[in-house]
Symmetry: C2
DNA sequence: AACAAGGTTTCAAATAATGAAACCAGTTGC
DNA sequence: GCAACTGGTTTCATTATTTGAAACCTTGTT
C-alpha cells in the first residue's frame, strides 16, 4: 500500500510552501508511522485526532495506534488539556545530533561568522532536502529584521537564491525529478512559474557561479548566493547574503559575489577533509540496566 | 522482546551523560526502529554498520533492514565514501516544528531576551525530557542565537541548576523514578553522589524557590535558576543565568533570584494562555499526487 | 589463491499490524 | 430528561509484515 501524499501548508507568516511527505516506497510500518509524524508537523500547530483522521488515508484504529506509539516514544507530545498532538521534544534532541553531524553547519561556522561580520548583512547556509531548501544556519544582520528563515525551516527551491544556486549544479536526471516536485506557486510577480522559465536562468547561474533572488519569494527581500560544490561538482549546499530593497540593491549585493564564492570554496574544502573529532567517540553500552519509564508529564 | 538499554557517551566537550533510549514498552516495530535511531545519535559521530551491530541486541539482518528503512526515510544519512550512518536532515526539519510547538521557547522568547539584556550574562531555558535536562533555548549575551548548536543539547538533571529547580517541584511518585535514572557520575567534588544527598537540597530549593549550581557539573561554572511552574505547581521548565567563577560569584547571582522568578512567573502565565496563531492553520492535503523519490545524494 | 571481514539477500516460521465494528464518554438539541 | 451526536478508545479474527539463521556476495588482505 502506497501512502503518497503532498501537503500544502502555510507557515506562521502565511506563505504557502509545498511539503512532500517522505513516505511509502513500501517502507513498511516504520514508513507509515513517520508519515504520520510528518503530517502532524505539517500543520504547524497542535492538532486534534479528528482533524488528523480527516486528512489521513489511514483507518481510525490504525491512525490511533500510530499516534499512541509515537506519543509513547516522545516523538509526539499530547496536550491533555486541549487534546492535541504536536511534534515532541525527542525530535529536538535527535536533531541536535543531525545538525552537528549531517549538516554543513559545524564546518561552515567560522566562514559564515566571518562573512556576516564583514558584510553586516544576514547570512544563510542552506542544503537541499527532498527538493526543498532546508536552512541549517543563519547569522542575523545587525538590526534583526524578522524574516522567513531560521535553522530547521524549509523553503521553496525554485524561487530562492540558495535554492537556485543548488539546482543549477544538480546533474540531469535528478534535476528533472526535483523540478517536478516544486509547487510553482506565484509568491510575487517575479516568481518563476514553470520549469522552462527556471531552466533558462539555471543555465546562466551555472555559467556565472552566482545566483540572485530578485524578490521572487518575498517582496522587498533580495539576495545573492553561491553554491558549495564538492570536488565532483555536486552541490552540497549554498551560502547567501540577504538584504532588503530599502537598504541595499542587487548591484551592491553583486559586489559580494566573489567573496561569497571564496567562502563557499573554503567550506567545500573543509568539508572534504572534515573528520569527526575522535575524542567524541568513546561509546559504551550496557544492556537492560534500567526499565524505560513512560513519561506521562 | 524488550530492548532496554542505556548509553553512556561523552559529548564533544568530554562530559559524560547518561542517555536513556526511550524504547520498548513493546511499542512494536516503530519503537525498535526509533531505538536504532537513538543509538546512532548517541555516538555523536558517524558510525559504520559493523560498529552498530556490535553494540546492538538486534540480529544482523534485522538491524540492517532498519538502517535501510531509516535511510530511505531521510531519518539517517549514509555517507557512501566512508560507509557511515549519521542522523539525517529530516530530523532537523521535524525538530523545527517540535521546537516551535512543544517547547516553551516561543513563549519565553521575549522574557529571556529581556533577561539576557539586563544581566549581560548567559541565559538558559531548559525542560525535563526523560529524566534529563533538555536545553531548548539560550542567549549568549554576545553572539546571536544559533539554534541547534545550543538548543537540543542534553545534560544531567541531578547536578545542574535548571535540573534541580525542576526536580524540586516534581511530585513524589515521579521524582523517585527520575532519580533512579540519574547516573550520579561525580563530575566535580561538589557533585551530588546519591539520591539522598540530593533530596536534602531539593527540600531547601522547594522552600526558597531558587536553586544554584555550585560548580557541580563543571569546575568554574556556577548558576542560579528558577523553575517555571504551572498553576498546579508542575514544573514546565526552568530558567537560569550562568556565569564563571572568574567573573562573578554565588552572592552576585543570588541577587538575580527575584528577577529570575519574576520572568519564570511571566513565562508560566503566558504559556497557560498561549494559543497558536490561528492564521497558521489552513491546511489542505491532496493525496497521491506525486511519487516520493528517494534521494541518493 | 585462499582467507577474512563487512555487507546484502533469502525464505519459512513467528509475530505484529490491520480495520470493521462495537463501545464509551461527553455534548448538543429538543 | 432523553435521544441523537461527535470524538475518542478498545476488541478480535484475519492478514500482512517482520524476523533471523544461514547462505551468499564483494572487497580488501596475507
Amino acid at each position: 500500500m502506497l501512502v503518497n501524499s503532498r501537503f500544502d501548508a502555510t507557515d506562521g507568516t502565511g506563505r504557502i510552501f509545498a511539503h512532500m511527505t517522505a513516505v511509502d516506497k513500501s517502507d513498511g510500518t516504520v514508513g507509515k508511522a513517520l508519515a504520520v509524524l510528518d503530517q502532524i508537523a505539517s500543520y504547524g500547530r497542535p492538532v486534534r485526532f479528528a482533524e488528523l483522521l480527516g486528512d489521513s488515508p489511514l483507518p481510525k484504529a490504525t491512525l490511533y495506534r500510530f499516534v499512541q506509539t509515537l506519543t509513547n516514544q516522545g516523538m509526539l507530545q499530547y496536550d491533555v488539556e486541549r487534546q492535541t498532538y504536536a511534534p515532541g521534544l525527542r525530535l529536538v534532541r535527535l536533531a541536535h545530533s543531525a545538525w552537528a553531524q549531517a549538516s554543513l553547519a559545524p564546518v561552515a561556522r567560522p566562514h559564515i561568522d566571518a562573512l556576516s561580520h564583514e558584510t553586516g548583512e544576514t547570512v544563510h547556509l542552506a542544503q537541499l532536502d527532498h527538493a526543498q531548501v532546508l536552512y541549517v544556519d543563519k547569522r542575523n544582520a545587525r538590526d534583526p529584521v524578522e524574516m522567513f528563515s531560521q535553522a530547521g525551516k524549509v523553503g521553496p527551491a525554485y524561487c530562492t537564491g540558495v535554492g537556485k544556486a543548488m539546482l543549477a549544479h544538480l546533474p540531469e536526471p535528478e534535476l528533472t525529478t526535483v523540478l517536478a516536485q516544486q509547487s510553482w506557486h506565484q509568491f510575487t510577480p517575479a516568481t518563476h512559474g514553470s520549469p522552462e522559465s527556471l531552466r533558462a536562468e539555471l543555465a546562466e547561474i551555472r555559467a556565472t557561479g552566482i545566483s540572485f533572488d530578485r524578490e521572487e519569494h518575498e517582496i522587498g527581500i533580495i539576495c545573492v548566493s553561491a553554491p558549495i560544490l564538492n570536488s565532483q561538482n555536486r552541490p552540497l549546499g549554498a551560502l547567501s547574503v540577504t538584504g532588503t530593497t530599502r537598504r541595499t540593491n542587487l548591484d551592491a549585493l553583486a559586489q559580494l559575489g566573489p567573496r561569497l564564492q571564496q567562502a563557499a570554496r573554503a567550506i567545500a574544502r573543509d568539508a572534504e577533509s572534515w573528520v569527526f573529532p575522535q575524542s567524541a567517540a568513546p561509546h559504551t553500552m550496557s544492556q537492560g540496566e534500567r526499565p524505560y519509564v513512560r513519561s506521562d508529564a
